[in-house]
Symmetry: C2
Subunit: 568 residues, 2 copies
């Protein structure tokens, strides 16, 4: 391809709302163009990159034995009513009416569509397993679309759905998908981490996320410094923080005037915050209303909201306001585990189980309790609620845990029978008995990966594409295209590289100066440039490595061999 | 690929609403599945065919030098307001609001989006021409979605848009696109015809359609039996039907009681219908209301409504009802060209120009005029209004014209500056003067082609895919997969063909009988089957040609060579 024949509108202007490097550089280098909130056009270079990533995903999915399909992007709302998600998906599910006043949605995901496709078409365990995938447009009406391709509303995703006659077979496919995903990210040249994850709104029993490591990542992931353990902070666990158990003493109520925080109480009582209970009061939102919930963790721990939300099966948690708290009969700062109002939901962190001699609020203004023994309280619900901290101990190996930032670029789920049961999709097992399909689902954010590659690979001048994602591998820069001999040398090397199977673009623009062409090379981020300039008279061209910006003089007759060696 | 690993749910049931062979067979053979009115899922075989057609289109577009892009499928309504089409597109343009109450549409075509992409990014004639295309989802909220993939609401289209600094350069690209399209349809193995066309709602100065010939086609196309001329009936022209001019005599009003039709009047007056004027009264719909229009053609001709509509620049024509006619001061059956009410639109067919001695209504109940001389009436508007009939004479060569049926699978337009002017999209010409881009646009119905291939290539048993569109070229049918030696022979031939680069599928289903496998082969329509059955003991397999259903015994060691020879 030649620059003169391609639409590559680079610009020096950075839109105000573009804060992430990928957002800025993809816009400036002419890869994408915004048309609406969270909606982007792909210009020619952007389309090539998108298709390269799509092709790698397709190839590895096909290698895994999955079958490619394509669901309608516009889906009847009735399918979502069947599964129950018409009510639980909220505003992210964009709904509309057609000219006949029928209800439709723009698909954000396709569990319903795939169950509808397979239902009554696969009827026997003999036709299982099957894994159906598509790489197609999705729409999620995000409240705050931002960061360019990172969190768009219209986006390209690979979504796969597998059907099994047993959980064992689902686990086999789940592991195969994990391996398949690893191959995808490795081929794309990305540094990534597979971590344990929360299953969120999709549901199911187990899930893993694939994070592209980048300092701008929206997700905090917890990793171990000495083993392979990794988890999204929402799902991370640690070795319990165990101190000596104290003696059981009789419970005691004491006045703690104006001591509302753990620090104030601990200091006032001259006690170790480890032996205290921190109460976090939340408003839990359900489909049909809300409820006040109190979560207890150790004084030295923090609540992980996603875990808390999952522990009571709520749609989401909101901060409870003063009115809610008072109405529920609670006292902010003095909330404790003993004698809580009956209609308040209560969950205690598992690490507190069996603890005695604890300090907590007395459910009365200016009073706390000492020596509370949890084993003496009946009917308590325990769950993992804490947020793992840097420096905590790995539960797998005893190593130290630390934080890193990641971009979620893939997520795989063991769904089980959640959707097949809801939609009454069954097969006959080997005994002729009807069973709901056991399902898995597996997503890769294809358009998000375009941005993720750049978040991980850029410098202050622009993009640095990896070899497998670059729109072209080599940019031949003719310093002055008006000089016949430079232009001719450019054409010759261009043809030679093309012949050798190298993806190459020739910057043959007559009216562009060398500095402009070099600036475009750095901004667009092709892996290599071959500069044809003054040294041509001596038989040399300059090879530039985009990553290091190192320049090397190469004899013109050696350039093709050199490049072939570099890209192997 | 193996049948046992692929989701190919064939069925014997034909849905009631499926009347076209392609609709029936694509559903029955497990290519597609309907999810809503005019919305289809592609199952694995359907997805392969769709991608094969897409790949041919992409390759030929790339060869032509066009750049692939991708526009957002969801587009802000504001872009459509800029071009003016928000009001003219009617209900086919599906509109909706997002969670923030902003207006969007599902793109049915992308003239606005491409002008928006290029505007302010291409600023000089030096950067022209450029041709940008995409192969992406469209949505048209058809009043009557029908015929499966033929007239769906969500569909896949290749749409291209070119930008030029002159009309001459547009014509060059238009011709290049015509050649490119011919290559596409030829490679797909289709019988097709390029015809002159009406530009319809897209607008512009010239357009051609590409029709896949099939008896089920919705379009009537006029073709010449001795030259290359072809045109959609909506745009077809002929050599004027010329009879001797009569003597000019004084106009005369005569009573013609109860003679409302041309036949009645001609018979009553014992006159040649050729020398009479037929009036067709229509209600012409415009953006801001409607008007009564009267179109005059010869008594022996019929009005072509599309031509009539274009001649007065209306959005559409409706039949005028009795009330409308009376209100306009007209008399049905007695409407004539002399002294028509002033606020009625009038157009006369060009073939009547300069005619004299004509019969027409007297605009009075039960009266006609004789010897009307059109040259004596001032201010008449003439336009081509007639519908070409079979047997008419070709204007190009004098040959005979006849009708054939076609499926519109492509349409190319010389748009001119319609959209660039409306959206204020300019470039600087060589004199530094701002000019609106001269544009062309070029569409291919990719998903419609999936159906068109089958409309042209099927028999009563099922689909017959062409070589370039078949999901697999060869189906190896193991008669009885429980027989070890047959299964093994199947695997061997499968591996050998795969090695040789043949796209092959192995019907290895253990529980399916031979008749069922053969039925699936015929219904799905792979070009060839290799049957491994009883003759295996003698070293033979059977080669079946799907088109002819001819069977030939081939020595097992020759089968790969034989197939390679067939598909060359």
């Amino acid at each position: 391809m030649k620059f003169s024949k391609m639409f590559i509108p680079t610009t020096k202007e950075t839109p105000n709302d573009a804060t992430l490097p990928s957002h800025q550089f993809l816009l400036r280098a002419g890869f994408i163009s915004q048309t609406g909130a969270g909606i982007y056009d792909y210009m020619p270079l952007g389309k090539i990159v998108l298709d390269k990533i799509r092709a790698v995903v397709k190839e590895e999915m096909d290698n895994s034995g999955a079958n490619e399909v394509q669901f309608g992007f516009v889906t009847p709302l009735s399918l979502w009513e069947e599964s129950g998600r018409a009510t639980t998906m909220g505003n992210e599910l964009l709904r509309f009416k057609d000219r006949k006043n029928s209800d439709y949605v723009l698909s954000p995901t396709n569990e319903e569509a795939v169950v509808n496709m397979v239902k009554n078409r696969i009827t026997s365990y003999k036709d299982l397993p099957i894994n159906l995938y598509q790489i197609y447009t999705k729409f999620r009406d995000e409240a705050r679309p931002r960061f360019g391709l990172m969190r768009g509303r219209e986006f390209l995703m690979k979504d796969a759905y597998s059907f099994h006659s047993s959980t064992e077979d689902l686990v086999r496919e789940f592991n195969l998908m994990e391996e398949t995903y690893k191959k995808v990210y490795t081929r794309l040249g990305l540094e990534f981490r597979v971590v344990e994850a929360d299953s969120g709104a999709i549901g199911g029993s187990g899930s893993k996320e694939f994070h592209v490591l980048a300092s701008s990542g929206e997700d905090t992931i917890v990793v171990c410094d000495s083993c392979d353990y990794g988890a999204n902070i929402e799902a991370a666990t640690r070795k319990p923080n165990a101190k000596d158990k104290l003696e059981t003493i009789a419970i005691e109520k004491i006045e703690t005037p104006n001591c509302k925080t753990i620090e104030e109480v601990s200091s006032f009582l001259n006690a170790d915050a480890y032996y205290s209970m921190k109460a976090v009061i939340k408003n839990a939102i359900y489909e049909n209303g809300s409820k006040i919930a109190v979560f207890f963790v150790r004084g030295i721990d923090e609540l992980e909201e996603t875990k808390a939300c999952n522990s009571i099966g709520a749609l989401e948690l909101e901060d409870a306001n003063e009115d809610d708290i008072i109405k529920a009969g609670l006292h902010a700062g003095y909330c404790g585990i003993v004698d809580l109002p009956k209609d308040v939901l209560v969950v205690v962190d598992s690490e507190l189980k069996n603890d005695n001699n604890l300090v907590c609020g007395a459910n009365e203004e200016n009073y706390h309790l000492k020596c509370v023994d949890l084993t003496s309280i009946e009917g308590l619900k325990f769950a993992d609620l804490i947020s793992v901290k840097e420096g905590d101990t790995c539960a797998c190996c005893g190593g130290k845990l630390s934080y890193t930032k990641g971009i979620e670029a893939g997520h795989i789920f063991q769904l089980g029978t959640k959707y097949s049961s809801a939609m009454n999709a069954n097969f006959l097992d080997s005994n002729g008995k009807a069973q709901a399909f056991v399902m898995g689902c597996y997503g890769i954010g294809v358009s998000r990966l375009v941005a993720a590659v750049i978040e991980q690979n850029h410098d202050e001048k622009g993009c640095i594409w990896t070899k497998e994602t670059a729109p072209f591998t080599v940019d031949i820069i003719v310093s002055n295209s008006k000089k016949e001999e430079e232009a001719q040398a450019g054409e010759n090397i261009y043809n030679e590289l093309k012949q050798a199977g190298v993806e190459v673009i020739l910057d043959d623009r007559i009216n562009a100066r060398f500095g402009f062409k070099m600036g475009d090379f750095e901004l667009i981020g092709f892996p290599y440039a071959v500069v044809i300039g003054k040294k041509l008279a001596d038989g040399f061209v300059e090879l530039v490595d985009r990553k290091t910006l190192e320049k090397t003089d190469i004899k013109i007759e050696d350039i093709t061999a050199k490049i072939l060696e570099l890209i192997k």
